[in-house]
Assembly symmetry: C2
Homo-oligomer: 336 residues x 2
DNA sequence: AGCCTGCTCTGCAACGTTATAGGGTGACTG
DNA sequence: CAGTCACCCTATAACGTTGCAGAGCAGGCT
């Protein structure tokens, strides 16, 4: 059924190793021989068996990307970019969905399925600082996200505190003083919510605005529905606010929907800023002002860093690399 | 470095084959031997080398999913569901992005990378009926989408014509007569645009409404930006309309943004219906009325059909399977 | 007693590839 | 004219696993 090196060798009248040499661009081959072999390859439609090659070489040319769920737009866009970067480097990507659940994440790290891959780009949501032990895995890994710092692996992430501070400052600079937050998460000891909250509070403090727990909307999950629900709850209990900082774009978009449903005008009555710069943020009405956290750079750097580890070129201590961010000005924020 | 069967065999004092037998649940092993082997496995932390196993068995436990781009929400949600279904069946998924480009798609079909997988779920955008030859590939494949019918592979898709007709009828039933279309695509001989247009025209005809080319917005790509642009163009040339049928949700959402930007009220001045039932359609303002094309069923059926082909249980002729659809009523359509 | 059967375990070959080591050529050098 | 060297090619042994064939042994049957 499948054509192998043996078949090509037999047809072209050379040894199997010569065929292998032709395929691998070994330089010392007579042009005539090379032509004969290539003709045989074409005639038989031979393609190498990558499984066998991998067994020999110990490499698979496959990397794994583990994210909570592709139906979350942030991770879909991240995955799209990681796959593009990996393809440029000649790799393919297995995408694993953990559901953001700590146990599933720990299972995945130990799964023999990863044996089929050269390395892992892991974006945890459940695993945290208490699991650094489990993160000391026997294969190359790059960590994304905010759950684990000082872990045993390279870590590529964004400047959460600074970016969140910039978002809040952007609102403050436009005269907003009652800036609600959507996405706070009390139980969390380390993560995006904690860090972005820190940046928010820094901005308030620097501007001399008191922190008010009454305008902090809490939600563990960061879906559109959670943003809308948290916003409705804030409005229902009569919170006074002139701006909303959604800790990500889907929260902000959900919140924006709830605001407009409640008859409030965005940005005039309430300005809204998000975080992530999803594609869809350009097309809400009004278009969402947000933070571009450098996702493209993160994807690219994750792949190149993983490749360096795989190649064993870097035996240095784990590094943490931070992406640059910027405020993307659109329509959902106006000056008072 | 890596622990192999040999290491386990040496430690437990049995042959390598016995260890293999223990791992593969071969029944005739003395409990004492089994226990000894299992203890050795645990002590050494042995996990099987899947590459070697695959070379022996000819199976990899990996399937490929080829879509245009994960940053398109429809394909991200499809991929999420395919990965979930595959995982339930003990498979992992390599995601390939073709960009929707015919040449890239044809390249992919011939790529040796697919040698690493047991089969392919392929959602083409560029490849069309003229390429049925190239689709006759030597590995199990399931086709998705509307580009190729009557091909050499199983085909799982949606009831485009009926669903589009239902969408238009839904608008007509609410008194809308000037129903614009966003997403028509003239160059296309076969595809979603063609089929959905057919359903739209069927509905018009059945209601005795004349077809008017002036309210048909054309766009090859189906991003949010294209929907907004096409809508703006229609409005700019003074088209008279009381409803919009976006051939997918992102087009509809883009169009909705353009409508509201132009000061029109949705749904009262102009009602909007989409197609796909993306997660984000629930959270636009107003929430988007749309068609649920049965994406979940499609993902599940694609995986199980592919698995049947891989197992060789079905040697029957290629089948076409159609998902059920339904209209999802939300807020973007109102009665006149 | 002799044979068969079933259980437990083993050795070898094979999956398709690449690395290593080395065997022939012919041409060039001294 | 011998020696050296670059070039072209080949045979063999792995990579880690599983399928196949069978060996040794105990127990039960005739």
């Amino acid at each position: 059924m499948a054509v192998t090196l043996h078949d090509v060798a037999r047809l072209s009248g050379v040894s199997i190793k010569t065929v292998s040499n032709v395929i691998n661009d070994y330089p010392h081959i007579r042009p005539a021989t090379r032509a004969r072999v290539e003709a045989a390859i074409a005639e038989l439609g031979y393609t190498p068996n990558l499984t066998a090659r991998n067994l020999r070489s110990g490499r698979t040319g496959v990397i794994a990307l583990a994210v909570p769920d592709l139906s979350l737009a942030y991770f879909a866009e991240l995955a799209a970019q990681v796959i593009r970067e990996a393809e440029a480097a000649g790799l393919v990507v297995v995408v694993e969905q953990t559901g953001g659940d700590r146990d599933s994440e720990l299972d995945l790290l130990r799964s023999p399925r990863l044996k089929l891959t050269d390395g892992l780009i892991f974006s945890p949501l459940g695993v945290g600082p208490e699991d650094v032990g489990a993160l000391d895995v026997p294969y190359p890994m790059v960590l994304l996200g905010e759950r684990v710092f000082e872990g045993p692996a390279d870590h590529i992430t964004m400047r959460n505190v600074e970016a969140a501070r910039a978002a809040a400052e952007y609102l403050i600079a436009r005269g907003r003083r009652r800036i609600a937050v959507i996405g706070a998460h009390d139980g969390e000891r380390m993560g995006s919510a904690t860090l972005r909250m820190r940046g928010y509070r820094e901005a308030l403090k620097a501007a001399g605005i008191p922190y008010d727990d009454d305008i902090v909307g809490r939600t563990t999950f960061w879906h559109r529905a959670n943003g809308a629900d948290a916003m409705r709850e804030l409005l229902a209990r009569g919170a006074v606010l002139d701006a909303v900082f959604g800790f990500n774009d889907t929260l902000a978009l959900g919140a924006m929907r709830a605001l407009r449903q409640a008859g409030l005008r965005v940005p005039d009555d309430v300005s809204v800023i998000g975080f992530d710069d999803l594609d869809e943020a350009q097309f809400s009405f009004p278009a969402l002002t947000t933070i571009d956290p450098g996702r493209g750079w993160i994807a690219k750097t994750a792949v190149t860093t993983l490749l360096q580890r795989i190649a064993g070129r870097t035996t240095a201590a784990p590094r943490t690399l931070l992406a640059d961010f910027r405020v993307v000005e659109r329509e959902s924020v106006s000056a008072v």
